[in-house]
């Protein structure tokens, strides 16, 4: 029955129209998602762009208080909190990604060993990554507690130096303590994804290299890493970007403090816009961040993602 209907349709429809319909179909299917996302994304950006040229503090007025040109941009850069936050953010993004990927790769090799209970451990290992970052923040705030926290106790028991104000209260350690929580949460993610990559490396190649006298380090550098290039690039790019956007952990653990010692770009933005209610300044910061993020993502598109799309 259906066959007849289709044949009828085919006879009455000229082939060119049918072809055009086929071409239009993907666009019709994609359009709703593009329209929704464009509305949700373009609108805030345009709105921020306008506000970034205005003097507007929400505590003074519900409406912008006048055009001040590039004043907000100058303030963002000159008052140095933006630049300081940018420095913090880039530092932890690069250091954090390097640690997570390197540690993840080491753990992935361990996961590939046949041991009793390994399957069970692999399934459990991903658990830190499943937790909401903000809840990870609660967990580490509990464990970092200067008086009765588990981590200070471990450090003291090992007779290592510990700042008197606690790890989160000291300006030299706060940012790194926040990063440590991120590393705890996301190293398992790197390990599990890279382990999946390792499974695709054929044993014969590694065996052959070993017979030819290649050491473990040479095999890693010359065979393993080139063969898992794709998952490594993906994991590294994703982690770099997510640490670059780090917000939830900072909110719970330090609120950017002490002073501004652990402010990240995202937290700085939140502070400017939704704590100090300086909408003009925060909009200018938003646009500076948007430009940086777009440059980073463009770099990823060229280097890290070109063979996964």
């Amino acid at each position: 029955m259906a066959a007849v209907a289709y044949a009828d349709g085919a006879r009455t429809t000229p082939p060119s129209r049918e072809k055009r319909r086929r071409q239009r179909l993907p666009l019709i299917l994609i359009a709703p998602s593009i329209i929704l996302l464009t509305a949700l994304v373009a609108f805030p950006l345009v709105f921020s762009l306008r506000n970034s040229f205005c003097f507007w503090n929400l505590q003074m007025s519900p409406k912008p208080l006048g055009f001040i040109g590039l004043g907000n941009y100058r303030a963002a850069i000159e008052q140095s909190d933006f630049v300081e936050a940018l420095r913090h953010t880039l530092t932890i993004a690069v250091v954090g990604t390097a640690i997570e990927v390197a540690l993840g790769l080491a753990i992935a090799h361990l996961l590939a060993v046949r041991l009793v209970g390994m399957n069970f451990c692999r399934a459990l290992l991903i658990m830190p990554t499943t937790i909401a970052p903000i809840v990870t923040g609660f967990l580490f705030r509990y464990m970092y507690d200067a008086q009765g926290g588990l981590i200070p106790w471990l450090i003291r028991t090992a007779h290592l130096p510990l700042p008197a104000q606690g790890l989160l209260g000291n300006e030299h350690t706060a940012l790194w303590a926040v990063l440590a929580a991120d590393i705890w949460q996301w190293t398992p993610f790197c390990a599990i994804v890279l382990f999946a990559g390792l499974l695709s490396v054929p044993d014969e190649i590694v065996e052959a290299a070993r017979i030819d006298g290649a050491g473990g380090w040479t095999i890693l550098r010359r065979i393993t890493i080139p063969m898992i290039r794709k998952p490594m690039a993906f994991v590294a790019a994703l982690r770099l970007m997510q640490i670059f956007n780090l917000f939830d952990l900072v909110l719970v653990l330090t609120r950017g403090g002490p002073g501004s010692a652990s402010r990240t770009l995202s937290y700085n933005l939140y502070q400017q816009g939704l704590v100090d209610f300086n909408i003009g300044l925060s909009s200018a910061s938003t646009w500076l961040i948007v430009i940086i993020v777009n440059v980073l993502i463009a770099l990823f598109a060229v280097f890290a993602f070109k063979d996964i799309v």
Partner: protein, 275 residues
């Protein structure tokens, strides 16, 4: 002892260390929820005690505030998943099945959205939601969550559509089936497992998001983590209650990941690595 056995022992030791470092803190938090309050900050750690369930009772039964927040979390995450599917299913199907100009750039655009800093959108959303009276509504949260839900689901779903052989659809078309018939009788049944997996990961993604509810929710619609954040502002934090609320917030994503098994890698990499 032979060298092989020594090596094995070292590997087991490494595995044990791995579990202690990465699973230990989670257990430590579970213990917080059920330990007597006076032992919460007692060092050296108190590991043996009579478990008390008082904290769960206080946070989820007694005054009922966290129970409400748990419900809110379910509504927001569930609503965000339901709203996202009608947008992402057709888009993912089109990207998987058709070649058209800009297809690759479109995928990169979705990926870019997943990597964008949510806080950059937060302030405009807050201002507009306030202006139109949407702050504190589920709708506002569910809507802005789509900025990450749709790109995530499109990527993951595309990988599942890629797994369904296009030949099946082509042969059905040769037999004269129409496009919508093919879709309903062949593609959809085959894609259902992938749809369920995608919906579950998307649920976790929405459940764990804190930035949007932080700004767009109010007392009545606060999600569980945001409600728990409120404890920190009040004098004399009851850490046992924070532990209990956090355990409730942690359990659903953990269970979903345990159930997902072999799909975990695929979910975590937005479908780009099949695992």
């Amino acid at each position: 002892m032979s060298r092989g056995i020594v090596l094995k022992l070292w590997l087991y030791a490494a595995l044990l260390l791995l579990m202690v470092v990465f699973i230990g803190p989670i257990l430590w938090f579970f213990l917080l929820a059920i330990r007597p309050p006076e032992t919460a900050f007692q060092m050296p750690p108190v590991l043996f005690f009579r478990p008390e369930w008082n904290a769960f009772y206080e946070t989820f039964v007694n005054p009922g505030t966290n129970a409400r927040q748990l419900f809110n979390s379910l509504i927001v995450a569930g609503g965000a998943v339901l709203l996202n599917l009608p947008f992402s299913i057709p888009a993912a199907y089109a990207i998987s099945r058709f070649t058209f100009r800009g297809r690759k750039n479109l995928m990169l655009w979705y990926l870019g959205l997943l990597m964008a800093p949510p806080v950059a959108f937060l302030i405009p959303y807050f201002l507009v939601a306030t202006a139109v009276g949407l702050t504190g509504t589920y709708l506002a949260m569910v809507l802005v969550l789509q900025t990450i839900m749709v790109p995530f689901s499109v990527w993951l779903l595309k990988s599942f559509f890629d797994d369904i052989p296009a030949d099946l659809e082509a042969s059905a078309a040769l037999d004269g089936a129409r496009l919508h018939e093919i879709w309903w009788h062949i593609t959809l049944p085959l894609a259902t497992p992938g749809l369920i997996v995608t919906a579950m990961f998307a649920f976790v993604f929405a459940w764990n998001n804190a930035a949007f509810p932080l700004v767009l929710s109010d007392q009545d619609t606060a999600t569980l983590p945001i409600g728990t954040l409120g404890y920190f502002g009040s004098a004399g934090i009851t850490w046992n209650n924070i532990g209990a609320a956090a355990v409730a917030a942690m359990l659903p994503p953990m269970l979903i990941f345990l159930v997902m098994g072999r799909y975990v890698v695929r979910g975590l990499t937005f479908g780009s690595i099949k695992g």
